[in-house]
Subunit: 360 residues, 2 copies
């Protein structure tokens, strides 16, 4: 019945999480109500919330001097909320553009300060690599440096953490957060929409070093002010309670998979299998530099564009959906987040081989 | 198994909605995926979204020159987002304070413009009525007039629509939106968090007259800019897809109840029953003026505060939860939104009588 869903997000969720959510929909743990119906001030939801925060801190080994905030507005919201906070005292920031999302962040930030392009990976308008950090034009007096650690459209992922010295590093990690361990201490702020590896759309995770709180621009809406959100344990406004509950279930599932190290091993296995299949012949291509090929989002092209439609049609007939590439770049894209089982990638690779034989 | 949940929000949802959501959790309409997992750009979710918008427009009879936006950030978010939009050309706005929420809105707006208190209903710090519109000190050159049409903490509801002439009327209708018909054409903008009568927390409804779009302050985050959101059919950033789906199921349930007129009749019956029980003897009191007693949130006090704990304990034992009043005002509060069945209010009234006999 279930398909293999290669959507870039919102994306597949672990089946055990969905089964538990369905079973608890009308009655959570004998409370006589579903989680969606609970007051965010009641003891049941406060316990759900506290457990989710604790699990996330444990999974990512978040240091004690960082706050974990559950917010709303998604990555695009943070594109404004981050500069509204960090440019309050110093209007200069450096951006490294390695794909469509960091480009969007760069543009939005320009409304809030004096923003420099420290590096731009575009070649002929396409993104296929990450310029070495040694080549970035960094301003030592900048308020922060922004990077997008995984670009969903271009399939470009950071496998190194740039050293920005005393300047806080801000990462939009929306599309690979919790897919592998991450040294949080090397970042000033990490944000991400939940709808890739974490839970439902509408929940935004912000992990911020405490010394960066309290610098917000006077016009930053209170509901999005990090310090206010932190002081109220993410309950200044009513939080997206159901999304937090689902995220908590995903965190438990992740812990049962061996945590982020266990997850990373599985994700490497899936990604390697798929990239090997792409590289095997000239029928399929992915031109991202090998050292930054995303393990989460794998764009690829058929050697003849006229084959796109039959490839997608055959995939759908075999229970594989959402393989069409982003409209801005065309081709195919397989998003293989945490919840995508190895069997899904194996099925895709089998279909790629079968299709190639028929059309090669 | 299910309790009667009198929470002020997030609040009880109709059981048929929860049952359908549970049944469709892993597979929506044979798509092989749950709604939470769907790409917001896929045909399945686009259909879900379009139907939800259409149903909401039909239920509220939204005129053609108004846009319906599904946003994030809740009512507290809108407290900043509204002035960030409407004060772009003219910094003056009038606020009418009739309870804790309009007071919060008034304070947040002061960060964005020159805000006047057109009327303040507070008497000894408490809110028990709405000053007649004829007594409001309205500025004919203001950019807008803000009211909160139902105050959840104080239990004060508007049963008239003030005439503000050419000045747009903005209503925070979070806690009674869809509980009864509303003449949208009399408002410039109506907003509300979903977590009372509509669906899960994390979805914000904005209904805005088209001529008010496009006036946003230069620093308004793009993700919250009404024109941008409208131009992208609420999909500029990834919308809270699951919350929109649940809201759509609630809208269908509402239509099956006879629409908002049918719902209003039931809500009047429930509220009348409860207020009659409160007024019957001096054991319970509610001091809100009769012409603005909220049909949604019914605060009341026991004549002796020492009886609060046993009253709440007995209610819980009888399957009635979340009756404790807001911490700022004490006492009791019964929130009886659309999804609270008459049987829930009957059970509460029976318990009130029983308790009074035992302690009267």
């Amino acid at each position: 019945m279930r398909v293999f869903n290669f959507s870039a997000g919102p994306a597949a969720l672990p089946e055990p999480v969905l089964r538990q959510a369905a079973a608890e929909m009308l009655d959570w743990h004998g409370s006589g109500m579903g989680v969606m119906e609970m007051s965010h001030r009641g003891p049941e939801f406060i316990a759900i919330h506290a457990e989710a925060v604790a699990l996330l801190r444990e999974l990512l080994a978040v240091p004690a001097n960082y706050r974990v905030l559950f917010m709303q507005g998604g990555g695009l919201g943070e594109n404004a909320i981050v500069p509204l906070h960090l440019l309050g005292r110093n209007p200069r920031a450096d951006f490294v553009v390695t794909g469509a999302w960091s480009k969007k962040s760069f543009r939005e930030a320009q409304r809030y300060g004096s923003i420099s392009l420290a590096a731009d990976a575009a070649v002929d308008g396409r993104y296929r690599g990450i310029p070495p950090a040694s080549a970035w034009k960094l301003d030592r007096a900048a308020a922060y440096v922004h990077i997008c650690t995984n670009e969903t459209i271009d399939g470009v992922e950071y496998f190194f953490t740039p050293d920005t010295g005393a300047v806080p590093l801000v990462a939009d990690a929306s599309s690979h957060l919790l897919s592998r361990p991450m040294d949080v201490s090397k970042y000033g702020l990490i944000f991400g929409g939940a709808q890739k590896n974490i839970g439902p759309a509408g929940l935004t995770i912000v992990i911020v070093r405490e010394d960066l709180l309290g610098q917000a621009h006077a016009l930053c809406p209170s509901a999005f002010e990090y310090r206010t959100v932190a002081e109220h344990e993410s309950m200044y406004n009513t939080p997206p309670t159901y999304a937090i509950y689902i995220a908590g279930l995903v965190f438990k599932w992740l812990a049962a998979q061996g945590g982020l190290a266990g997850m990373e091993a599985r994700n490497i296995e899936k990604a390697d299998l798929l990239y090997r299949a792409i590289d095997a012949t000239g029928f399929y291509t992915n031109s991202v530099a090998p050292d930054c090929r995303s393990r989460m989002n794998v764009p690829f092209y058929l050697h003849d564009e006229r084959l796109n439609a039959p490839f997608l049609k055959g995939a759908e007939e075999r229970g594989m959906v959402q393989l069409k590439g982003h409209r801005s770049v065309g081709g195919m894209r397989a998003s293989i987040y945490n919840a995508m089982p190895l069997a899904g990638v194996q099925a895709l690779v089998a279909w790629m081989r079968e299709f190639e034989k028929a059309h090669g």
